[in-house]
Amino acid sequence: MTPRFVFSSDLYRRGLVVLLAASLPFLGSATAQPPARPTSAAPLTEAAVVARVEKSVDRALKYLASKQLPDGGWHNNQAINGLSILAFLGRGHVPGRGPYAEVLENGKKAILRSQNDAGFLGGTMYEHGLATLALSELYGMDPDPILEQKLRKAVQLIVSAQSPAGGWRYNPVPNDQDLSVTVVQIVALRAANNAEIEVPEQVIEKAVTYIRNSAVPTGGYGYQGQGGATAQTAAAGIVSLQLLGKYDDPSIPKALEFLNKVPVEWKTGPANYFYYFHYYAIQAQYQTGGESWNSWHPKIRELLLSRQNVDGSWDVPDGTAEQANSVGPNKVYWTAMSSLILEIYMHFLPAYQR
């Protein structure tokens, strides 16, 4: 029997915060309107590079499909299930067609089954946010009326759980907040909004205010308030503001400067939550574009391509925080996250839109 994914208070803070990694890239625009920003950064033009990325992701998805459990999930943690579904979607595999139609259908059902009467998916707001995000991306491509029904309930729960300060925390009650959990919810709300599920404007604006208030004067954003700022929260904070349309927020340049100094390497260091950091970071760089993107993306791309296992999976650098005892077995999390990072070049997920 698959061991239950246990969350200690420390784990909430350090371990599962990694789940944020998938959330931020899917933030939509700040308002119901997308930002009035014409197309920017030129596309990847080197066909040989694209071909390598595609091959790598295809192998990874084959691996993920092989690890799907009989109940349709990959774990009893809905964040892992959400990330896995997103990895398939990010490569352009959609419900009802193609080689992974059944994988997606079963994965969706696993998430939907986990919803309680209040609309809560999984056991924490991390799980709920990522699962809601996955459902938002499935919605519209899957005609299942139950999906729409449960998605709307899930979105409503997020709205109702926002704290007065504008953030969210582990439990679905409007008591407290931290940057990690907040960003996950924002991403989910933006994806839902992009799918024309109404989200009250003030919910988004309060969230933006919360993130802005977390900005640290020396560069970056704090985990709670201005305390606990790290490379991870810097990347997460930048992406949050960018995807909410605040590309020119005055806190971003300093945070970006801080981000660009973080070494891209397969070992412990400032980016101790390796996948969490790199998933935020590549999104932040992509949204920034220009020189920053130019110098960043090849580094993480080549690092990941060089570290993929023969079976298509990825491991995690030794000594870093996201070990199997915190993110689940079978390398599912690491593989899903690596896929999502590399899928930056695909531009398929609607929530990725600039």
């Binding site: 309107q33 009802g96 919605y139 020189e291 531009h347 609607p350 600039r354």
Partner: protein, 803 residues
């Protein structure tokens, strides 16, 4: 064989193959035993007949008896031969030697210098192979200078021409054919016994399509075994079918490709603009963005200015610190103040260390249309599928688009309409009258069930298209569009659907692809890249998809721009993108629901370009503009040898569509020689004229329509220039050549090792048989002969009164 030829001609036998090989025709019998028995019995029967007649016909004279005997004996012989079943047989064996194809890349990039060469020993080996005298491991000064000045094509020619006995020996066992590859493959008239190749002036070509070249060789071989395809190239493929696909075809045909890299792998110091992209169109007042991709070698850390010009006017400059490790992308922007077509140039100053041959790749051009018009859009879809989510944002970001009353296009999503319907006071967002609907320029109808639309809406839509010229885009989907709609609506479409099916799904192992038709290749709608070769490449690389609308055929008035090549019937390949006029309006049909797949690797770039062009292409022309002359060229930038399509909407001074069958437009060419294009009237649309034009040389062209009757004179411009793709990547692309060789079962062969080619070739002659049979007894000649012989016998008897 004159007798046999005469015989066959007389009986009307006209099989050319047999008549050509008469010397190999033999006589045979179906029952040879019967024939030989008959022949054996001929003499005894002759003796018997003679003695019997001598006895019975005494006192008949001896000559008469002999004549009668001969006649009867001949009759017997003829009957015996006929019963034996005589026939003519031809068994002609043709031995075809395997083919060896020598393909020489003659594109622009092959005019680049062949060197420098990193290792002197390699250079000396090459020089020796090219026919230079190498003594004591060195070249004399004059030879050294000459060798160093060779271009890649010249080096390849020299090596082939100095190959000594290589080709004559190959020709003993194989049929050796020479070809040149540019955009297309062309045969060269070269005698393997004495290899003499054309001079350099005749061999320049603006594109390299290596994949196409390999495919064409296979086609040319027409099933004959190909022992080897020797490809001499620098590997810089700039368009056409991918070398990887071609290598696969070669492997299937058991045709090994021996790729011979020509040129140096030493990275030349170079800064190149490898890509330049604009959105294609913006509105007046917009901030136009130009995305530039730059590659450099040998200039790491150097700061250069990247400049954007409109003609000679500098629009923007940005500094870039060069880094050769990866492509670098930079954006330049400017405010589009005036409407019109802009020819934008991006330029990086030539660095002193760059070789002269590579300096042209420091610039590139792109075209941008600046429009003062706002196109009013109504976009309807059933649910938030991915194409809806991307498209709605694309339209909201396009400042040239608007709604009826709002600054943004009007968007109706049925799932939200349904949810809000129960809210008290909810009103329908749909336009209720023809006038309201006809205010829009374009309506996009996505995948929504017809019973979700207000009653009468489809009738209004049809009327608006037909009578008011409203543009309609029908974007198919598995839910309902267009298979769920009635025939009244389906009549608008440029396709006819298969009945009883909701769509066409591809098996998992064989997904669908998109093929652009020749018409689509020229059409503005599918022009994702101004460069024709790159445009074709972009479409060729689109990802596969698994569903499309089940179309049976195009309607009679349709123009098909793209097809699904995986599905074919008696009408041809399944139309995927097509358009037609329906009354005054244009209707565009998109059979795929996955245009979001076109975002792969390019993000918004191609997606926004396509949809921006689509909504504008079908858009209703405003009343004030609709009766004015309008001339367009598509594409406005072509390479030498590529055609452009001219479209003219012509009205007389009263504003009525012209009715002449043809109309001429004048062309001002770069060398100021006047020319004309004759445009033919479109029977489907009064006043619309179209035609094709093949510009003769590079430069700027102006095409003018001068009606001469008081109605407006209009003109359009175009540019003809060689693809800069040829010089974008100046070094030899060994990776492409190695991939092509390996995947086809061949190998890379160095230019200096061409002499080892014979031992690597494998091929057996193919033998084909030409076999024919023709019976000889069942014709009128044989019957006549029999009758004549019998008549001689009877006639003689009667003549002499014998019974």
């Amino acid at each position: 064989m004159p007798v046999l030829e005469w015989f066959l001609n007389t009986i009307g036998y006209n099989d050319r193959e047999v008549l050509t090989h008469l010397d190999e025709v033999t006589l045979a019998f179906q029952r040879p035993g019967l024939f030989w028995l008959g022949m054996t019995l001929l003499m005894p029967i002759a003796v018997f007949v003679y003695r019997r007649q001598h006895r019975n016909l005494f006192p008949a004279p001896k000559p008469l008896l002999i004549a009668l005997t001969v006649a009867r004996t001949l009759i017997f012989g003829l009957l015996a031969a006929t019963l034996a079943g005589p026939y003519l047989k031809l068994d002609h064996r043709v031995e075809k030697r395997p083919l060896v194809a020598v393909v020489i890349d003659h594109s622009d990039s092959m005019q680049l210098p062949a060197g420098p060469f990193e290792i002197e020993a390699d250079a000396l080996r090459l020089a020796a192979a090219a026919g230079f005298a190498v003594k004591d491991n060195t070249l004399d000064v004059e030879s050294k200078t000459k060798f160093a000045g060779l271009s890649r094509a010249e080096l390849a020619h020299s090596v082939l021409q100095s190959a000594g006995e290589l080709f004559p020996k190959l020709a003993e066992t194989y049929e050796v054919r020479f070809y040149e590859a540019k955009r297309q493959l062309s045969p060269l008239t070269v005698d393997p016994a004495d290899v003499t190749l054309p001079s350099m002036e005749d061999v320049v070509g603006p594109a390299t399509h290596l994949g196409d070249a390999v495919e064409q060789v296979l086609e040319d071989a027409a099933g004959r075994p190909v022992a080897g395809l020797v490809l001499l190239s620098d590997g810089q493929n700039t368009g056409g079918r991918s070398p990887a696909d071609a290598a696969h075809s070669a492997a299937v045909a058991s045709t090994p490709v021996f790729a011979v890299p020509v040129g140096t792998t030493v990275r030349l110091r170079d800064v190149a603009v490898v890509d330049m992209f604009t959105s294609g169109q913006v509105s007046v007042g917009d901030k136009a963005q130009v995305s530039v991709t730059i590659e450099s070698t040998g200039f790491d850390g150097r700061s250069v200015d990247v400049q954007l010009f409109d003609g000679t006017t500098l629009l923007a400059t940005r500094k870039l610190v060069l880094n050769g490790a990866e492509q670098q992308q930079i954006e330049l922007s400017f405010e589009a103040k005036e409407a019109g077509n802009r020819s934008l140039t991006v330029s990086i100053p030539i660095q002193p260390e760059e070789p002269a041959a590579l300096q042209p790749n420091n610039t590139d051009i792109a075209l941008l249309r600046v429009s003062a018009e706002k196109v009013k859009i109504l976009f309807i879809d059933g649910g938030p599928r991915w194409d809806f989510r991307f498209l709605k944002n694309a339209m909201r970001r396009d400042h040239g688009l608007a709604g009826r009353a709002k600054a943004d296009p009007d968007i109706i999503l049925d799932t939200e309409v349904a949810r809000k319907a129960s809210v008290p006071g909810a009103t329908s967002p749909y336009p209720a009258t023809l006038d309201d609907l006809a205010e829009y320029h374009t309506v996009i109808l996505g995948d929504i069930a017809p019973n979700r639309l207000p009653e009468g809406f489809l009738g209004l839509l049809r009327q608006a298209v037909e009578e008011r010229g409203l543009g309609l885009i029908v974007a198919a989907g598995p839910r309902a569009t267009p298979h769920g709609y009635d025939s009244d609506f389906q009549d608008l479409l440029p396709v006819r659907l298969k009945t009883g099916v909701t769509g066409s799904s591809a098996p998992v192992y064989n997904p669908y692809h998109i093929d652009v038709t020749p018409e689509g290749d020229l059409h503005e709608l599918l022009r994702l890249n101004e460069d024709g070769g790159r445009n074709r490449e972009a479409w060729a690389k689109m990802p596969p998809y698994y569903w499309c609308a089940a179309v049976d055929r195009a309607s009679s008035a349709a123009s098909v721009l793209a097809v699904n090549p995986n599905v074919e019937n008696g009408f041809g390949k399944m139309p995927l993108i097509a358009w037609q006029f329906f009354g005054a309006g244009r209707v565009l049909f998109l059979g795929t629901d996955s245009t979001w797949l076109w975002r792969q690797n390019s993000g918004d770039r191609y997606y926004y370009t396509f949809w921006g062009q689509a909504v504008r292409f079908v858009a209703r022309r405003d009343e004030s503009e609709s009766k004015k002359n309008h001339l367009e060229l598509q594409p406005v930038r072509v390479q030498p040898g590529e055609a452009t399509r001219a479209e003219l909407l012509a009205y007389d001074a009263k504003g009525e569509p012209r009715t002449e069958r043809t109309v001429s437009v004048q062309v001002q060419t770069p060398d100021n020689k006047p020319a004309q294009i004759e445009l033919t009237a479109d029977s489907r649309q009064p006043g619309r004229y179209t035609g094709r034009y093949l510009p003769p040389l590079a430069g700027d062209y102006i095409v003018t329509y001068e009606p001469g009757d008081g109605s407006d004179r209009v003109d359009a411009r175009m540019k003809v220039m060689a693809s800069t793709a040829e010089l974008r990547h100046p070094n030899v692309n060994r990776a492409t050549l190695e991939g092509l060789a390996t995947a086809s079962g061949g190998q890379v062969l160095e230019l200096s090792s061409l002499a080892t080619l014979p031992e690597k070739l494998k091929g057996e002659p193919s033998i084909s048989h030409l076999y024919r049979e023709k019976t000889m007894w069942d014709n009128w000649l044989m019957l006549v002969l029999l009758v004549v012989l019998y008549s001689v016998d009877v006639g003689l008897r009667r003549l002499v009164g014998l019974t």
